[in-house]
């Protein structure tokens, strides 16, 4: 029998030589820690610094967006399934909280937790149905879902109050407005920290690697044993849970719900825009995006008043992001820093270096090879 192995591989096809390990890793870790500490300090001191209650309430709105966008990123970031209808879970969380208070007379914060858990349960059958399709079809299904919810909550007047809105009693009736904003600001910080910590744990876990492989190539991931259907559903439920958590807290804070706002495609689009802007592959991407877009939205509204111009401005922002920073701000900025340092991510090698490396690899590789051969000989004899 002719042997193919007689054609020994000529080690000349080394095209790409990656650095053996990121050398600057330790300093990068320090930079990251320092940035996180500064960011956390800035957020926590904001209520004290904020010059007036209006700015403080804008801060609450931005944090709310950060929670929603980070929640959305459990699905969009890990698995790459873009839902434009996640406002449905924002609305369900908010209305769930309001209705439980109104009809079951539950205390505000109990209603909030119960409603969030209920929404997560509702997300199971919806997820099973929606996740049967991929790509553009999934986007359309997600939009259909939020529109159906909008119609239901608008038309079901007897229960939801329809377009007249639903009044949610304040959990702290005696509290003055600025104090109320301050308390809710910190509550949103807590929820955001909870969402970020969960995202971080998944990001570094085996489960997270499996979710990311679904984003890259779902069929391939499945062929490697990843139970894609189940894992996507878990990500979807987690995503719905955190968005509902943000929605419920919003209801307790704002106190007045209107279907047209709670179930608007616009809110869902903001979640996507913020996550894309900051970077969906990064823990803090959605938060950063929420801060940038949130401030921009408030500014546009102040500048252009109650016109629809802020929508055009937001659209332009989205266009700029997609054109110039398709991976978001965080990757764009960090690659800028990496380019400044002399270490390229993949460095080019000269023919001489290549030869040396191949020699070294051959020398290193032949020893264990011989050992392996000896072992197989032993077992076969």
């Amino acid at each position: 029998m002719p042997s193919v192995s007689s054609r020994e591989p000529i080690a000349t096809e080394t095209v790409v030589v990656a650095p053996p390990a990121p050398v600057r890793r330790r300093s990068a870790t320090w930079v990251r820690i320092v940035l996180i500490v500064i960011g956390a300090a800035a957020i926590l001191s904001f209520p004290t610094i904020a010059p007036n209650p209006y700015i403080l309430s804008a801060g609450v709105v931005i944090l709310n967006y950060a929670v929603l966008s980070t929640g959305w990123n459990f699905m969009g970031g890990f698995t790459g399934y873009i839902s434009l209808g996640h406002a449905a879970y924002f609305g369900l969380g908010a209305y769930g909280t309001g209705l439980l208070i109104k009809y079951l007379a539950l205390p505000g914060f109990v209603a909030w937790i119960v409603a969030t858990v209920l929404v997560a349960i509702v997300a199971i059958p919806i997820g099973i149905a929606a996740l049967r399709v991929r790509g553009a079809s999934f986007v359309i299904v997600s939009i259909a879902f939020v529109l159906i919810m909008l119609l239901v909550f608008q038309s079901w007047r007897d229960v939801t109050g329809g377009s007249e809105g639903l009044n949610v009693p304040r959990p702290f009736p005696d509290m003055l407005r600025p104090e109320h904003h301050r308390v809710f600001f910190y509550l949103f910080v807590l929820v955001l920290a909870f969402a970020l910590a969960t995202w971080w744990i998944i990001d570094r876990s085996k489960f997270g690697t499996a979710l990311k492989s679904i984003r890259e190539d779902e069929d391939k991931a499945q062929s490697l044993g990843v139970p894609t259907t189940r894992y996507k559903l878990i990500a979807y439920i987690l995503s719905a849970f955190f968005v509902a958590l943000g929605g419920g807290l919003y209801a307790l804070w704002f106190g007045d719900l209107d279907p047209i706002f709670q179930f608007s495609i616009l809110i869902g689009s903001y979640m996507v825009l913020m996550a894309l802007l900051g970077g969906v592959r990064n823990l803090f991407g959605p938060l950063l995006g929420a801060v940038v877009v949130g401030i921009a939205l408030e500014y546009f509204k102040l500048e252009f008043g109650d016109t629809q111009f802020h929508l055009i401005a937001t659209g332009i922002l989205l266009g700029v992001v997609v054109l110039f920073m398709p991976d978001g701000i965080i990757p764009a900025v960090s690659s800028l820093f990496r380019r400044k340092s002399d270490q390229a991510s993949i460095r080019e090698v000269t023919a001489g270096e290549l030869l040396e490396q191949n020699e070294a690899r051959k020398a290193a590789g032949s020893a264990p090879q011989r050992k392996a051969d000896a072992e197989t000989e032993e077992t076969s004899s």
Binding site: S5, E8, P9, P20, A210, S223, L224, G365
Partner: protein, 250 residues
């Protein structure tokens, strides 16, 4: 080599059929692959080899028929369950996760779906060591930190193979392992297949490179128009009149 000393049955199908619209890609195919051997699956273009692969691994649902693996039915099981049952596969046009590093590509393979295991860090030291072992084995360990999309096609092929091996499959199905790669690399892949086979892994290989098939395979099944028309040792297959007719149309 004697084909009549047929050993244990590894993977088999019984009257498996799959049609797309009016085209019957796999037509009541009854095939048996042998445990511990390097099995070849050859046939002219469009003879249904890849569809057969996809049906067996659950990527496509066969319209009718049975698929058995080591005596147990795996008909209509989802691809991930087939994979966790011990069947790894590569794809015809080499599929890796382009925006993940070489190491991350290897850490995807799932064997154990328990929650405790899944919530552990992906960069578990034992797993990293095992992954490095496979990377060394296929010869791309120096690329551990490179993004998969920056690899050459040949390197991606090796990466895909390492990724499949990371799931520790007992049976490995390769769809055209030599397709589009240079002769030196074909040699390396062939050597690897032979070594892994000696270590006890069963192979089922779809391949057009006849030199590779004839030198590597213990047992060859020939497909034409969605069904097997001949099988046996490579030397015998080469002389089979039906095979020559299917290939040359004489």
């Amino acid at each position: 080599m004697n084909a009549s000393t047929a050993t244990l049955e590894n993977l088999s199908t019984e009257a498996m059929t799959k049609s797309f619209g009016g085209v019957t890609a796999v037509d009541a195919a009854t095939v048996t692959f042998q445990e511990g051997k390097v099995n070849g699956l050859i046939g002219p273009n469009g003879s249904g080899k890849t569809t057969f692969f996809n049906c067996v691994t659950g990527m496509i649902r066969p319209d009718s028929g049975e698929v058995r693996y080591r005596g147990q039915s795996i008909t209509r099981k989802s691809p991930d369950r087939v994979a966790r049952a011990g069947i790894g596969r590569s794809f015809q046009l080499c599929r890796v996760f382009p925006r993940m590093t070489v190491m991350e590509n290897l850490l995807v393979a799932v064997r154990n779906t328990s929650i405790r295991r899944q919530l552990r860090s992906a960069h578990d030291p034992d797993e990293l060591e095992r992954a490095r072992g496979w990377l060394r084995r296929v010869g791309i360990d120096h690329l551990e930190h490179a993004e998969a999309r920056n690899l050459s096609y040949g390197q991606q092929k090796l990466l895909e193979l390492a990724g499949v091996l990371m799931g520790e499959p007992d049976t490995i199905m390769l769809d055209e392992p030599a397709g589009g790669v240079n002769p030196a690399l074909i040699g390396r892949i062939a050597t690897l297949v032979r070594e892994l086979n000696e270590e006890g892994k069963t192979f089922i290989i779809v391949e057009h490179n006849m030199e590779m098939v004839m030198s590597l395979c213990d047992h060859v099944v020939v497909f034409d128009r969605g069904r097997p028309i001949a099988e046996g040792a490579p030397e015998i297959i080469q002389q089979d009149a039906r095979v020559l007719e299917a290939y040359l149309g004489v």
